[in-house]
């Protein structure tokens, strides 16, 4: 079993299809949705974790692709701009999963671990310098 975090971008025409249902039912995948916006009028997105066998994840993603849905495995919705970040650490008590963390206790350097981010957006709300932003 592996877990893969993916970002699905839906064109307007595909937002009515029950894609997540099929991923669970037909491909035996555990789906954990972090962020979603799927409305019939416009483009939509889903940020989710897929857990299952390597083979099932690959097949499930092929199925998703057949709907003209764009799959982005690299970009995960939240961006941390290390040039905007002044390394204060105001984010630390607001990030619930320690995705934003101190990588070096001596210099108190802040770093961002994308894998741990659950996209709660509280860093965006709380960063005084706009270092965190959402791609949506």
């Amino acid at each position: 079993m592996i877990t893969k975090k993916v970002l699905l971008l839906f064109p307007k025409s595909e937002t009515e299809k029950p894609i997540v249902y099929h991923l669970v039912k037909d491909y035996d995948l555990i789906v954990n949705i972090f962020r979603a916006k799927v409305t019939p009028e416009e483009y939509g997105y889903l940020v989710l974790d897929l857990t299952g066998t390597d083979e099932n994840i690959r097949a499930g993603l092929d199925f998703v692709r057949s709907f003209n849905v764009e799959i982005n495995e690299a970009d995960r919705g939240i961006r941390w701009d290390d040039k905007r970040c002044i390394q204060c650490g105001n984010c630390l008590s607001h990030c619930p999963t320690e995705a934003l963390y101190i990588s070096d206790p001596l210099t108190r350097k802040i770093d961002y671990n994308e894998d741990k981010c659950i996209q709660c957006l509280s860093c965006i709300d709380n960063c005084p310098y706009g270092a965190c932003s959402s791609i949506f």
Partner: protein, 395 residues
């Protein structure tokens, strides 16, 4: 014993021995105070964080025809124009015109005076809109134009209060969020925020103002400036620990420097949700090792510096003076801290990382002979309280 002149001569000849306030601690431990006081000439201190009570004087130059500006906005941020025809003062905490502030609580405060100052330092174009009533010699009544910092005759940062010696640690004991200048404080003491660079901070390394005085040279966002006055609310008569280090706000500095020589990496507009806008500044201050007592005080460690934890939901706004407890900076610089038996997550408003970087840069500049000490012409007051404002019903 050394004098400022001796140290400056060593700096000019490239022979000065300089260490950061971080490095000096272990060095004195290893070498002993007497030996280290002989060897080391300067200790560099630094801080980087929001410094309200900052701003700049700008001179726009005269338009053709001339205008005696009475109201001015830069990028829709109001500047104070009651100085002279084309002089203005832009304050860091001024909101942008039409910002809804906290009308839709908590407001976002995306842009204001601090952000305009950041744009100016970065050389970006800004819009000036100005109004006047018109006079015989200054007939123009309205103008709109675009400019950058190079178009200005002068851009001089003049900050009434920077470098708070120490600062409150803010916590929220209530059941709803508190939006403060120390960030969002979660209900029920879920988190707290401190704002100091601790053992690197300028006035914590010179707690009795023995070397930092009016006329001292400072590194202000990359530009060489100086202390022009005691900072507003300078209150040396504060609660202090046995090491003379204050456990509350205490001293402050009024700082000035040429903004045209500043570097964009060390100056940032600040947006504090539910509170407002401000400006973050990087500041470095050299401490000359004139004698062993001065050196000794620069070896202060985070664990020897305490700060007061204050409830910002009630005690701070109501000015009750109540302190929940005291904590030291070594504990604050861990991920969480225990307050009244409860584990509390820690946030910081001050960047230790940037402060370290600035202390290193200043060390390099002094070592290279590029940055000499300013000899203070006056000491900062060492005994002085702080007044409150009484709201009176009658004259």
């Amino acid at each position: 014993m050394k004098t400022y002149e001796e140290i400056n001569r060593k700096i000019e000849s490239g022979k000065a021995v300089v260490m950061t306030a971080d490095e000096i601690i272990d060095y004195v431990d290893r070498k002993g105070l007497d030996k280290a006081a002989e060897e080391v000439d300067v200790v560099t201190t630094a801080t980087f964080g929001p410094m309200c009570s900052s701003g700049c004087f700008l001179n726009f130059g005269h338009s053709k025809p001339k205008m005696r500006i009475t109201e001015a906005w830069i990028d829709d941020v109001l500047c104070y124009s009651g100085i002279a025809a084309v002089d203005a003062y832009l304050g860091a905490t001024q909101l942008r015109h039409n910002d809804p502030a906290n009308m839709y609580y908590p407001g976002e405060f995306k842009f204001g005076g601090g952000h305009v100052i950041e744009k100016l330092v970065k050389g970006e174009k800004c819009q000036l809109f100005a109004l006047s009533y018109g006079t015989d010699d200054y007939p123009l009544k309205e103008l709109r134009t675009w400019f950058d910092i190079n178009d200005l005759n002068q851009a001089i940062m003049v900050n009434p209060r920077n470098c708070y010696q120490n600062y409150n640690v803010a916590i929220n004991c209530s059941e709803k969020p508190v939006y403060s200048y120390l960030g969002m404080l979660k209900p029920n003491m879920e988190n707290l925020t401190y704002s100091s660079s601790g053992q690197l901070s300028p006035l914590l390394n010179d707690p009795l103002y023995e070397t930092i005085g009016i006329g001292s040279s400072v590194w202000l966002a990359g530009s060489r400036g100086h202390v022009h006055a005691e900072g507003t609310q300078h209150c040396p008569t504060s609660l202090r620990g046995e090491n003379d280090v204050p456990v509350e706000g205490a001293g402050t500095l009024g700082l000035t420097a040429d903004m045209k020589k500043m570097k964009g990496d060390y100056i940032r507009g600040v947006s504090l949700k539910g509170y407002g806008v401000s400006l973050s500044l990087g500041i470095g201050i050299p401490i000359p090792v004139l004698n062993r007592g001065i050196l000794k005080r620069t070896t202060v460690r985070n664990k020897e510096i305490e700060a007061c934890v204050i409830d910002y939901s009630s005690d701070y706004p109501n000015k009750t003076g109540k302190v929940l407890c005291r904590v030291n900076y070594e504990d604050l610089m861990k991920n969480n801290i225990t307050i009244n038996g409860k584990k509390v997550e820690v946030s910081a408003m001050s960047s230790y990382n940037k402060a370290l970087e600035i202390a290193e840069i200043l060390k390099d500049e002094i070592t290279r002979g590029d940055f000499c000490l300013g000899i203070p012409s006056q000491k900062l007051p060492a005994v002085q309280g702080m007044k409150g404002l009484e709201i009176r019903r009658d004259r």
